[in-house]
């Protein structure tokens, strides 16, 4: 059957982006991973509010907590960034403005991801 898209549409890049299904799939996978991670995180924090500074650092240094924190940062920020992408695409119609804001958001997300990973690693591997 003949392709429904006209050659001009293909050349101009109209139509859905090619990685929409990857976006959908990753959003769901990170969501699934985040369910147990969120429960762990919230209930850990709930038991921690009156911890002293050194107790807090010791909690982070506990290997399971470190690993889960690292995973939370990676999956949480990625999931959030995918969600914000949907919101931005919904509400901003001008192409250049949308592209610019999306790039800023994704940039901030990945920057904060590295900042978060660095902080956790620094606490874990740092002295004292």
């Amino acid at each position: 059957m003949k392709d429904l898209r006209s050659p001009l549409a293909k050349a101009k890049g109209f139509g859905s982006s090619t990685d929409a299904s990857q976006h959908f799939w990753l959003q769901r996978l990170t969501a699934l991973a985040l369910i147990p991670l969120t429960f762990w995180f919230c209930f850990s924090l709930a038991f921690l509010p009156h911890a002293s500074y050194s107790e807090l650092l010791a909690w982070i240094r506990f290997p399971l907590n470190t690993i889960l924190l690292l995973l939370l940062i990676i999956f949480g920020l990625h999931h959030g960034q995918l969600g914000m992408q949907v919101i931005i695409e919904d509400y901003i119609s001008a192409y250049s403005k949308r592209l610019a804001i999306l790039i800023v958001f994704k940039g901030v997300t990945y920057f904060m991801m590295v900042v978060g990973l660095y902080s956790v690693l620094r606490i874990t591997l740092g002295a004292q």
Binding site: R28, A31, G80, M84, S119
Partner: protein, 126 residues
């Protein structure tokens, strides 16, 4: 298109009474935005801890222990639990389960109740 357009728009939100499902869907999006800010703040808190200077942490802790800090934390915790419960509901919808009107009406309330209960439990513990 709509934001650059000066022509008047017919009222919708001021006029129609949306069903609960619609409000919950909006709340899912709104809590998503709130949580994005929240996770950025959490990473910021981690960097404060990472400086390994107790004074920095005590400044943040003082804020978090204050009334406004508690308020922010309460909003964040409810947003997190609501987004979590409704998110699980979305995942069920993605595999095609739970689309009948009756199920949706029941799970509307279930989601609201679960998120309130989880928030309450968390705050009772802490």
């Amino acid at each position: 298109m709509s934001w650059n357009d000066q022509r008047p728009m017919s009222p919708h939100l001021q006029v129609y009474q949306l069903p609960l499902t619609a409000w919950l869907s909006f709340l899912h999006r709104a809590t998503g935005i709130v949580l994005f800010i929240g996770i950025l703040m959490t990473v910021f808190g981690l960097t404060i801890l990472a400086t390994q200077k107790p004074e920095h942490w005590h400044v943040l802790q003082t804020f978090l222990s204050s009334y406004s800090g508690h308020f922010v934390l309460f909003l964040m915790s409810f947003s997190l639990y609501y987004h979590l419960c409704n998110g699980i509901r979305h995942l069920f919808w993605d595999i095609g389960k739970g689309f009948t009107l009756l199920t949706i009406q029941r799970t509307n309330l279930a989601v609201l109740m679960m998120s309130s209960i989880l928030t309450f439990i968390t705050w009772v513990i802490a």
